[in-house]
C-alpha cells in the first residue's frame, strides 16, 4: 500500500466517505471535516505511521498529508 492508499483508508474509516472520490487535491473541508476532525485525523495518521505531526503545519489537502508523511519516512 502506498502512503496515499493508507491515508485514504484512514479517512474512509473516520468519515465513512467514498474512497474513489478522494484525490491528492481533495481538501478535508470538501469532505465535510472541520478543524477538530483534522486534529483527530492527524492523531490517527501519527499512530498509523509512527510519527509526530505539529498542528501548525497548515495541512489542507490529502496531498499535504501524504507529502509530509513521505518526507518524514524518506
Amino acid at each position: 500500500m502506498t502512503t496515499f492508499d493508507k491515508v485514504v483508508k484512514i479517512l474512509v474509516d473516520y468519515n465513512d466517505c467514498d474512497a474513489s472520490e478522494i484525490t491528492m487535491g481533495t481538501k478535508f473541508a470538501d469532505l465535510g471535516l472541520d478543524s477538530l476532525d483534522t486534529v483527530e485525523l492527524v492523531m490517527n495518521f501519527e499512530e498509523e505511521f509512527g510519527i509526530t505531526i505539529e498542528m501548525n503545519e497548515g495541512l489542507q489537502t490529502v496531498g499535504d498529508v501524504v507529502k509530509l508523511i513521505d518526507s518524514t519516512q524518506g
Binding site: 472541520d34 478543524s35 477538530l36 483534522t38 486534529v39 483527530e40 492527524v42 492523531m43 498542528m55
Partner: protein, 319 residues
C-alpha cells in the same frame, strides 16, 4: 488512609445566555457552537461574586454531608482567579462559613479539582484532617475576550464543592504537568508601576484550539488507562466516567479510543459550557443529587487544562 466523599454541592449564577443570544454579540451561530463543542448555553456572573456562588455550593455540600463548618480541618479551593488576588477565595468562603481551619487556593486551571483532591488526600494521609472541604469555582466570563468569537462562546461560570471524610475510597490518583505558556494562557492584569519597561499584555484568555484538543484527547486516554491500572480494576468495573467538560468532541474522541461504552460517560456541557476547575464537581453534584450513583460504584474522574496540567483518579462511591 485516603478519604471518602460524604457530600457534594454546586451552584451557578442566575443569568443564562444561549448560543442564539451570543450570536447577537459576535459573529457565530447555534449550529457552529453546537457541532464543534456540544454547548447550548452557559451561566454568567452579573451581580454575584464568585464567593457568593461558591458559598452556596459549599453550604449545600456540608448540608448533604451532615457536617458542620466548625468540624472542617481543611478548606482547599481550586480556581484560576478568585474575587481577590488576596485574600484567597478559600479564605473568603471560610469567613462566611464561620469555619476556623486552614484555607488556601491552588491553581491548576481546569485540572484544579483533581489537584485539590490530591492535596486533601495528603492531609488525610498525614492525619492532619478528619473532614475536608474541597472547592472549585471559576468566573471564566471575566477572563475571556468578549470580542473573540473563537473563545468567548466556550466558557461559563460555576462553583462546586465536595466534603471529604477519612476513608479508603480514593483508589488511585495521578497528576501531571508539562509547563508551557504558548497554547493556552491568560496574562495578568497590569499594575501602575512607573518603572515597568514592558507593555502589559491584554488580560484575556488565548487558546490554540487544535493544539489543546490534541493534548486533551491523548492525555485523557493515557491518564484514564494509568489510573485504572494503578487501582487494579478493569474497564468493565467502571460505573461512570466524569470527564472535564471542555468540549463534547474531546470527550467523544477519548471515549472511542478508550473503548469504554458511551453510556458510562456523564456530561452536562450543553447547560454550562466549560467551567474550568468547577466542571467536575458540578457534574459530581448533579449525578449525586439525581440519584445516579449506587454505593460501591467506581467513578473515574479525568481532567486537563492550562499549564498544561492533567489529572485523573478512581474513586469508589460509598454512601
Amino acid at each position: 488512609m485516603s478519604f471518602t466523599i460524604i457530600g457534594t454541592g454546586s451552584k451557578v449564577p442566575a443569568l443564562v445566555k444561549t448560543n442564539e443570544q451570543l450570536a447577537d454579540l459576535v459573529e457565530t451561530s447555534d449550529e457552529w457552537i453546537t457541532t464543534r463543542t456540544g454547548i447550548k448555553q452557559r451561566h454568567i456572573c452579573t451581580t454575584e461574586s464568585l464567593a457568593d456562588i461558591l458559598y452556596d455550593a459549599a453550604a449545600s455540600a456540608l448540608d448533604d454531608a451532615g457536617t458542620r463548618a466548625d468540624e472542617l480541618d481543611l478548606i482547599v479551593c481550586a480556581t484560576i482567579r478568585g474575587d481577590y488576588i488576596s485574600p484567597s477565595l478559600a479564605c473568603v468562603v471560610q469567613e462566611r462559613l464561620r469555619a476556623s481551619c486552614p484555607a488556601f487556593d491552588i491553581n491548576a486551571a481546569c485540572t484544579g479539582f483533581i489537584y485539590a483532591l490530591d492535596v486533601a488526600e495528603g492531609y488525610f494521609a498525614r492525619k492532619k484532617a478528619r473532614k475536608a472541604l474541597v472547592l472549585a469555582a471559576e468566573a471564566m466570563s471575566k477572563t475571556v475576550d468578549w470580542n473573540d468569537r473563537a473563545t468567548c462562546v466556550l466558557f461559563g461560570d460555576g462553583a462546586g464543592a465536595a466534603v471529604l471524610a477519612e476513608g479508603d475510597d480514593l483508589l488511585s490518583i495521578k497528576l501531571t504537568a508539562v509547563g508551557n505558556t504558548g497554547p493556552l494562557f491568560i496574562p495578568h492584569v497590569g499594575g501602575n508601576c512607573p518603572f515597568v519597561a514592558v507593555q502589559s499584555a491584554r488580560p484575556y484568555l488565548s487558546m490554540q484550539g487544535q493544539d489543546v484538543y490534541k493534548f486533551a484527547v491523548s492525555s485523557m486516554c493515557r491518564d484514564i488507562q494509568d489510573v485504572i491500572k494503578e487501582a487494579g480494576i478493569a474497564k468493565t468495573d467502571i460505573a461512570y466516567v466524569l470527564p472535564h467538560q471542555a468540549n463534547i468532541r474531546i470527550i467523544d474522541a477519548a471515549q472511542k479510543r478508550l473503548k469504554i461504552p458511551q453510556y458510562k460517560y456523564i456530561s452536562n456541557i450543553e447547560k454550562y459550557g466549560n467551567t474550568s476547575a468547577a466542571s467536575i464537581p458540578l457534574l459530581l453534584d448533579e449525578a449525586n443529587r439525581d440519584g445516579r450513583f449506587k454505593c460501591g460504584d467506581i467513578l473515574v474522574l479525568s481532567a486537563f487544562g492550562g499549564g498544561f496540567t492533567t489529572g485523573a483518579c478512581v474513586i469508589r462511591w460509598n454512601r
